[in-house]
């Protein structure tokens, strides 16, 4: 076989495999994603948009000698970072990606937990679910890391910080009664809370 024909045959085989995995492999696609081969063979790009129908905010309440003296909203903090101008764009974007944009994963886990509780299927608590999952653990660690970063940026001392993650299902302005997602059943409010002792850090 001529080298060009052989190369073309390999090229066709490779892209036939890509198309097969991306469009016709059903659930195998998700198993394939976990293999090393998926680094060299694209398995499709289902960019799940919208990733969530929930809005989030994180509240940080700082304490000194048992008294609350400062409360910060992460949304407000990031909005202020954006307002600082073009030189701050990357910094804001990195902070948003590390501390904020992954929260939908924590919320998805919460929705599953809420559903299991609703169905009376599981008696596990939400914290133990987080501890067993590497990604969720990282998200909650970064929630604590933000408190340390904020404290360093603003140079103040505090004994501890109370962190509360709030969820609020999005409301469609032209169809406010829309409830076509489990997020609406999980409701509005604080779904994850933790405390960090800043003296030990």
């Amino acid at each position: 076989m001529k080298p060009k024909r052989l190369l073309f045959a390999l090229f066709v085989l490779y892209w036939a495999a890509v198309a097969g995995i991306a469009f016709f492999s059903f659930d195998f696609r998700y198993q394939f994603r976990k293999t090393q081969l998926s680094n060299f063979v694209p398995f499709g790009y289902s960019m799940f948009t919208p990733m969530t129908k929930t809005n989030f905010d994180v509240s940080y309440e700082f304490f000194q000698d048992g008294n609350s003296f400062r409360t910060v909203s992460m949304q407000d903090y990031l909005n202020k970072e954006s307002a600082k101008g073009i030189t701050n764009v990357k910094s804001k974007s990195l902070k948003s990606q590390i501390y904020f944009e992954q929260l939908y994963q924590l919320d998805l886990a919460y929705q599953k937990y809420h559903y299991a509780k609703y169905q009376k299927a599981k008696k596990q608590n939400f914290d133990s679910i987080i501890v067993q999952d590497e990604l969720l653990k990282t998200i909650t660690l970064n929630l604590k890391n933000f408190a340390k970063l904020y404290q360093t940026e603003n140079s103040f001392s505090a004994d501890s910080v109370q962190i509360s993650v709030k969820r609020s299902p999005m409301v469609l302005p032209y169809n406010p009664d829309y409830k076509g997602d489990y997020t609406y059943l999980a409701g509005k409010g604080i779904f994850y809370e933790t405390k960090l002792n800043l003296k030990e850090q």
């Binding site: 790009y45 764009v89 890391n145 340390k148």
Partner: protein
């Protein structure tokens, strides 16, 4: 259709190498200037094994070498070995800071993998290549450029298939929800538009239609420029609205592969063409 695949594409790979190298270098400099990203007191990432942990601990050395490799890549020094090094460094950097990875990085991972085999050193290179059109290496380069184009088509096709089966896209609600994921959306210029039922649903259906028809509209010569301009417009809107500058820039840069040499020659100003893109 045959015409789309058969026309030669030797100009744009050089432009792409140069521009994507600059985008990556700028991103690297801005990321490194925000040291909290790599400070273990301020940022945690999932455990990815001992090699990645070692690179995280020695991130300054890693990114300095990556920066140097990118400079060589931009200048066209080291040819395909440097192209392979850029792929490896990009691949590793995704694992070092996975929270900072978006779809643009995943699309680029495969693009850079195929780009290793592309002859992108004919123009805008310190030491330009002079390859014979009958050369086997040139044929490999052609297949690699086709792979980059097919990967781009896969992005649009698989997204449109996903959207067709998704209830929010079917109902036309997805545009509102997608915009609302981002902070500050209520103060945005687009908020009144996405809050209007007719406009919001119309945008949703236009996006699904644009993604579904992307491939045929690009392959058909008469609609090619229209499809590219529409895609660029959508990415520019997302660039300014969502601040996804790297992802949108990468997507716009990938569109360049959809035009062949003849089409690029018609677009590039004459003096620039004579200066930088004279056939060797």
């Amino acid at each position: 259709m045959v015409d789309f695949w058969q026309k030669s594409r030797t100009i744009y790979p050089s432009v792409f190498r140069f521009l994507v190298g600059i985008v990556f270098l700028l991103d690297l400099i801005f990321t490194l200037s925000n040291s909290f990203v790599f400070n273990t007191d301020f940022a945690d990432y999932p455990n990815m094994g001992s090699t990645i942990e070692f690179l995280r601990e020695n991130y300054i050395s890693f990114y300095l070498i990556y920066g140097l490799v990118l400079v060589l890549f931009i200048l066209g020094i080291g040819k395909k070995i440097v192209s392979a090094a850029v792929f490896i460094f990009h691949f590793l950097s995704i694992m070092i800071v996975p929270s900072l990875t978006n779809w643009g990085d995943t699309i680029m991972k495969f693009t850079l993998l195929y780009f290793i085999f592309v002859d992108s050193f004919k123009y805008l290179s310190v030491n330009p290549t002079h390859s014979d059109s009958r050369n086997l290496k040139l044929y490999i380069s052609k297949l690699a450029v086709w792979s980059i184009i097919l990967n781009l088509f896969l992005v649009y096709l698989s997204n449109s298939v996903y959207k067709l089966f998704d209830v929010d896209w079917q109902n036309g609600y997805a545009t509102f929800f997608s915009f609302s994921q981002f902070l500050g959306v209520k103060s945005s210029f687009f908020y009144p538009i996405i809050s209007n039922e007719f406009l919001s649903k119309a945008i949703s259906y236009i996006i699904v239609a644009q993604q579904m028809t992307f491939l045929p509209l690009i392959i058909w010569k008469r609609t090619r420029y229209f499809a590219i301009l529409l895609g660029v417009l959508i990415h520019l809107i997302m660039f300014f609205q969502f601040g996804l500058w790297k992802f949108e820039t990468i997507m716009i840069l990938l569109y360049g592969f959809l035009l062949n040499d003849e089409e690029w020659k018609n677009l590039i100003p004459k003096n620039l063409k004579n200066k930088l893109f004279q056939s060797s």
